[in-house]
């Protein structure tokens, strides 16, 4: 049901927009091209932001900083009930989409997808987003320089969700 919904959503929206506009007498294709041209410009505007963000993340990923941080945070995390094995994913998830996906795919094979840890990692992964990238792209496209509390609030939200994910998996077996 849900799968059908997400498969049919794009064609349905596409059809609905085009037909409604046609009935209302909008020059459909000309309008589409006009909008698409603006879209192309926006996408190119984002490229420099992407290069900067991905380069910064590449430095972090390649440096081994995550391993060092995992070592440092291991004791305090276990004291509050966060398993040591989940730390690398928690640390990297908000910053790098590709690195966290790779890490997740590797870890889930090791621990087994239906164990507590496997479920916890899946839930962390499924309920969180690459915060830094999302914000950089959105605000970059709008040419915002001062994002105010956006990064702070998003990181708070992200960590609340991810830590909640681990405890929820303990309760719901």
């Amino acid at each position: 049901m849900a799968e059908l919904l997400s498969n049919a959503a794009i064609p349905a929206v596409f059809l609905f927009i085009v037909v409604t506009a046609f009935i209302k007498g909008v020059p459909v294709f000309d309008t589409f091209v006009e909008g698409a041209r603006e879209g192309a410009r926006t996408a190119l505007d984002i490229l420099p932001v992407m290069v900067g963000i991905l380069a910064g993340i590449a430095v972090l990923n390649g440096s081994g900083l995550v391993d060092i941080m995992t070592g440092l945070l291991q004791k305090p995390a276990e004291a509050v009930g966060i398993p040591r094995e989940a730390l690398p994913l928690l640390l990297i998830r908000p910053f790098s989409g590709s690195a966290s996906l790779g890490l997740f795919a590797e870890q889930i094979k090791e621990v087994g997808p239906d164990t507590f840890l496997g479920r916890a990692l899946s839930t962390v992964m499924g309920s969180s987003e690459t915060v830094l990238y999302t914000l950089a792209v959105y605000f970059g496209a709008a040419k915002v320089k001062n994002t105010r509390h956006a990064i702070a609030a998003s990181l708070i939200s992200s960590y609340a969700g991810m830590i909640a994910a681990i405890f929820i998996c303990r309760i719901i077996q």
């Binding site: 849900a2 799968e3 997400s6 959503a9 929206v13 596409f14 927009i17 085009v18 409604t20 506009a21 209302k24 309008t31 589409f32 909008g35 698409a36 192309a40 926006t42 984002i46 992407m50 290069v51 991905l54 380069a55 910064g56 993340i57 590449a58 430095v59 972090l60 390649g62 440096s63 081994g64 900083l65 590709s98 997740f104 889930i108 087994g112 997808p113 496997g118 479920r119 899946s122 839930t123 992964m125 499924g126 309920s127 969180s128 987003e129 959105y138 709008a142 915002v144 994002t147 105010r148 509390h149 956006a150 609030a153 998003s154 939200s157 609340a160 969700g161 991810m162 998996c169 719901i172």
Partner: protein
Amino acid sequence: MLNVIWVIMVFSGIITSVITGRTKEVSDAILSSCGQAVNLTIVMLGAMCLWSGLMKVAEKAGIVDALARLLKGVFRFLFPGIPKGHPANGAIAMSLSADLLGLGNAATPLGILAMKELSGINGNSPVASNAMVMFGVINAACIQLIPSTVLIIRHQAGSAYPSSIIPCVWIASLVSALTGIIAAKVLERVSKDPGRNGGKVLRYLV
């Protein structure tokens, strides 16, 4: 602020790589990240054209307006200050629906369009408005009905019940979104004017 965060990322990463002896890995990663950025942009270029074009058609046909009128109650709380009947309402609604349905390729372009509309209301200022921050935070909270990528990976890893995590994902996403909304509403008071009265410290924090 990315001006500060970026420096921290680059500085701590490179210093660490010198200590751990991984300068070669870092150097390779930096170079390949540029190509990766171009690939991502090209993938997005097409999707961005498609959705910007469709949104333009929808706007001219009055669909965006109708959608905005439908959702005005919820939006008045989350995004105060958007004028009635402004296309931003419709753009936000479209973007959040795409998020919810997990349409990754549509969600990002639609989100960018919505952010640009919100920026227009803000006079295209280089300082984000409360509504823009709220929109960014809600997007970063990843509200999604079916986490399809995770389910596929679980299936490939041999899970007997790949979709058994869905209820947990919903609760966790809800916790994340609600915490984000509260955090944004609370922090918008303290980060109101990041140039004056003690705003200097804050500017580096947020």
